[in-house]
Subunit: 292 residues, 4 copies
């Protein structure tokens, strides 16, 4: 099957994505990427309505929108309206975007359109953990005056990012402790050879850390916990959790604890890889569309 | 809380388990381990009814029973009847065993007794994957005339054993391919750096393997698939999947493909570690009992 | 034996070194570190002549001197003259510094003083490879738009830095090729599981790289080789080799190949760890002095 | 250049070697392998004198001889005399064998023949460390009732086998301590993340081990040291060092310490891989012969 992709709006990732789809042999039409230095000259640019009406799969950016009305588009000279996507979508065509909220999904559903959120798909979350973890390493190497090798690191949370990051840190020679809550997670942590600590007793267990990487989107590092940590040693905290994050940054600042909020690392650290991850996930959505 | 454990029947693992519980400071009473060379002389041995009636937690072996009536007990001079457990259990006492079937669970439930199956707990499955994978390594090193280093290995299935085994093989220098079905599994396989193949096309993908480790309890390696594999190269197949296993051993034998069924490796390869894993899981069951 | 150390001049590393020696329980006197924000207030500061005359071991910075007359000292308000070290050294006292040239060694020898170059010691070179490699990782993550994971990396040279860096890259998921010359090196490269290429045919072997890390202090990447690399793909070159380095930067610039010269990474990336490495090496020198 | 190899005597390794050389496209003639079940039927068998007189490279087994007169040959129906090699060798032809002693080298030299000892070449020693280490793993898994994962292992010596084995053990999840003597070795041990202990104080450092792997050919584990180890815990000792080995086995036996002497593992554990290693080393010898 010859597939035509419309790649709409967004930042560098969308331009890389268009290039990758083209290189894979697909027809690709773009809207709202005119000003991108990355977009290949071989990708056709059209108006949003023309792009969408020609496409079998419309790929919206990550995130799709800030205001619920227009599509985010750093490299566009014109505004791109979501309504133009809904109005011009062909019957049977697919549409996907990242970080879709309920309002947007409902609006689409009212028009009989099912929007796919590629960011919520498991395989994308897993692969996105890689650039996130590399970005965290880069920050940690840059912002400390010691090596990761032989440093004492706490990884708070053992989900996807926690798993990928803990392994990288250990492979680089750090002494890694992981905090978790579930018995099964503790079994995996033991299997992997890390030290383990109950999430509830991070600051009470007598251990000292040089760097704390938080991956849990819940304020585990509140003023009280930060105070206990501070009493033991100086520490760098890198918060990788999505909002609300896991650190009381206000309190940390007052106490003089160096804390860094590091969000959306894949798009910042490795936009080309981030685009390849979106592409692979889009392919899976298309494949599932075919299968059923 | 002072806890008294009754450790009943089973093989070497139960004897190691009794020793470990004693070393951890608990009161331990044994039944049906009289003939074990491993059991510490400091563990008290009593009749089954006495053991059970004194216990806060009764630990039955893995598996508990073969006939549904008596408890498996390699090292016992007398028969141990399950009925004696049910009849003597104190109110509030816990009872756990491995590989409990519905009939047994129902029989217990009729008497108002909840039996805990430690083998079904996630944390036990995870930790048991370690001795299983080490046992598989041992077989593979022993049964081949080449090194695992630089060998081409297929790990069929990416569950707990697949994950642990694939990592060990790669760390030892093998070229590892993993077969799976789910997109998320493929993402994890890519993250870990293995080659990936669809479970459906193991024999069609043109790859050759020196060793195949199967972990999927489903006959993936039927006569047809074995024939295709045979056409390419000689191979050793090690089947780690629980019954019915994953290999048509009859067909493999006729074709001259060396195939090894390797079941219950933890108890065979590392009974002491297997006992420690049961102990840790038992502690979790006790802890949950306390928590409510 | 109670040992008194004089720590003289240098940059942050010397201040960290003084703090570390103090924490280890030794007497420490400093000169030329007055302006350092890192130096502990518990370290005694004295004039150079007083420091040296009280010391069992005088530790000069890395490098010791630029002009052969004064000691490099970023944090000093006054000039520190090498002559003051030679003139005030006690009989039997040791003196060590980093990157000593023949002139300096000869000058010392004329006065009957044996200077120890800690930078030339094998154990220091090995440990210094760690912050060097971490610094290289940091640059590579920061300066590319893709992840190290799945990237194609060439490590040119398999000495200390090559060994440490290749392992880190592979552990992070890169496809690592190492270039070398000796049969034994190729055996180690195969053992470690990297791809190998003859140093002579880096650009002829048909392979493409996303990042090249050079560790060989010899211009392997001349205009001719760079041209061949450029014909294949875009690449980032990070040159870690000490002078003269391994890259014709002029040619690279003209061709539009992004090339980064990264020297003295330990002191820049991880001065605290760099100081700990110097300390451990100094301890070994003192130990050998005792042993005879 | 078309090269003709004569593969003479030996065990399975020589048969595998002949097959490998044939598969690589060379002419191969064999002597003294008639009874091998492994030898390909496509390899020409001739008398020793005919084989040698037709060959550009004569490959003798490992070891070459036991009595200094005949060539070791498990699979031969006739005796193979070394004199027949010397008498029939063509001018310019090469001859290589494993574990050549001075007498043999001298005898050859008298006739103007330079014999190459492939076993003494660095690249062969490095690669042979892999099957040696895998064999040691196999023994350790088989002979213990616990997993290597979480076990406490001492690797005595940090040469080639020590390096390869320590890495394998750690990758499998063991707690690895390495003993060494040189500062540079300690730096590498620290870089790799193992615990370190001075070779002199293996038994005095208060540490307990579940398994000790010795790689140093010197009696480090004498009665005195064994006694100290025994006082702490039960232990399995696997001695991988060539004669005289590193363990007083008589004393160990009397004390009830389980000790295993494991020699010549590559030929036993992985004869096919061992043959490939010899082949690669032979190729290097031929290449050096060409280069001059």
């Amino acid at each position: 099957m010859e597939i035509t992709y419309a790649v709409v709006g967004g930042d560098d990732r969308q331009a890389y994505l268009a290039n990758l789809l083209l290189r894979d042999g697909y027809r690709v039409i773009c809207s709202g990427l005119e000003n991108s230095p990355i977009l290949s000259s071989e990708v056709h640019a059209k108006s949003l309505s023309e792009s969408v009406s020609a496409a079998d799969m419309v790929v919206l950016p990550l995130p799709v929108t800030g205001d619920g009305v227009t599509i985010l588009a750093n490299n566009s000279y014109t505004r791109l309206y979501l309504a133009d996507v809904f109005d011009n979508l062909r019957a049977g065509a697919l549409v996907a975007g990242g970080m879709l909220d309920k309002k947007l999904l409902d609006a689409a559903a009212l028009r009989g359109i099912v929007m796919h959120d590629y960011l919520r798909r498991e395989e994308m979350s897993v692969l996105n953990a890689i650039p996130t973890a590399e970005g965290a390493l880069e920050i940690a190497i840059r912002e400390t005056d010691f090596t990761l090798h032989s440093s004492r690191c706490l990884v708070s949370g053992y989900g996807r990012i926690g798993k990928v990051l803990a392994k990288m840190l250990r492979d680089l020679g750090a002494e890694v402790t992981v905090s978790a809550r579930k018995y099964a997670d503790f079994a995996w942590i033991k299997q992997a050879g890390y030290m383990a600590v109950q999430a509830e007793s991070i600051s009470d267990c007598g251990k000292e850390y040089d760097i704390i990487f938080n991956t849990v989107p819940q304020i585990l590092f509140d003023r009280h916990t930060l105070q206990k940590i501070l009493n033991k040693t100086s520490v760098l905290i890198i918060d990788l959790a999505s909002d609300p994050g896991g650190v009381d940054f206000e309190a940390a600042k007052q106490m003089g604890i160096k804390s860094i909020k590091a969000l959306s690392l894949p798009g910042k650290v490795a936009p080309k890889t981030a685009a390849a991850i979106i592409r692979d996930t889009i392919y899976n959505i298309v494949q599932e569309g075919k299968n059923g």
